[in-house]
Symmetry: C2
């Protein structure tokens, strides 16, 4: 198995590049300067990001949109649909079930779980809610490798443990708690309070904008 | 006005440090090694982050929890409650109105807006829903400096324009679109599809964990 040394900001930017490319006609060719200006990332940074994965464009001619899009989709393993499971169908979990970003061709919520007997057995947004105890059994059956935790903080580690038993490889965690997980399970935390604290820091301050740091624009 | 050169990852980590410190007794003192181990950030990184703001701890004795907490609260401007406005009270917006992280002493949703006549005038989670057209008038009156956009992508730029007219300084954007804003308005995007794409990248791959890059653990 290959070891990828690309830093995660590179992976973030690839996702950003893909989003931008998806808005362009397939048969267009962009100069590296045009592409750079459009997405607000310096030219040499884009080149460096793509070079991690052996993609070097056409020297002097820029990027073929269709080709680059295919490359990034391959790099991000988006060439086949990914199945998701949501644990915790309170308000946030239910909102995510209806989130239009998940309804595209790349990601699909296949399973939902809760520990509330009043919710178990119901169907929300076309997805049946199961007992959390069934996570380890159902996940492999539905080939789910990514779990989304939208439980209260107090239930999040238990949810994570069940997902790990079910052999997930990635967790998107909305609970405001740091999860303990083995090294082979990747966790992304969506910590809304932290995002607000970052905004709070910048209120009424003069700050220097560092364009090379993508996390400024997209975290 | 001071110019802060601290990169945003430093601000992110300060928020993480604060969260960790809040779980400790006020009168405790932590060695820098203990603190480092607990939060999973290298010792010298913590020192560097704090040094940006002139805080150097007690050499050889570590960190006084209460003092450090106060310092970070001051740096992040969290010493007074911040008022928020939510634009778009669909499923996600309504879920955020009920989000417990906003109910603490630091942030409070004061205003909610929508363009749907059936929603305008209603009260959700104790917050009255107003017409989006009233944003520029109501925001200054309620001293709201941070707006949260949970509209569909097609309405997000319009919502941002109204918030900017209302003199917000920070926007937390959940709509999957890149907003155009003036330089003095800070935008944080919560792009759930991007987070899933990052997880997707790491599925079934062997990767090198780079602990110095906080964005790995918390984005």
């Amino acid at each position: 198995m290959l070891i990828f040394k690309a830093p995660e900001v590179t992976v973030q930017r690839l996702s950003l590049y893909l989003r931008a490319l998806e808005k362009l006609p397939n048969n267009s060719v962009l100069s590296s300067k045009q592409f750079s200006k459009w997405i607000g990332v310096p030219d040499n940074q884009i080149r460096k990001d793509l070079a991690y994965f052996g993609y070097f464009g056409i020297r002097g001619r820029g990027y073929k949109v269709e080709k680059l899009k295919e490359e990034i989709i391959r790099i991000l393993s988006l060439n086949q649909k990914k199945e998701l499971a949501i644990v915790g169908v309170g308000k946030l979990g239910t909102a995510l079930l209806a989130y239009p970003g998940f309804k595209k061709d790349k990601f699909q919520v296949k399973l939902a779980f809760d520990n509330n007997p009043e919710k178990i057995g119901k169907t929300l947004e076309g997805v049946k809610v199961h007992d959390v105890e069934k996570i380890p059994r159902l996940l492999p059956r539905y080939k789910v490798k990514i779990g989304i935790i939208t439980t209260p903080a107090s239930a999040a580690q238990y949810a994570a443990n069940k997902l790990i038993e079910g052999k997930v490889e990635g967790i998107l965690n909305f609970a405001p708690i740091r999860l303990i997980t083995p090294d082979n399970v990747r966790v992304k935390n969506v910590d809304l309070s932290m995002l607000l604290e970052i905004l709070s820091f910048y209120l009424s301050r003069n700050y220097q904008l560092d364009l090379s740091d993508l996390s400024l624009a997209r975290v």
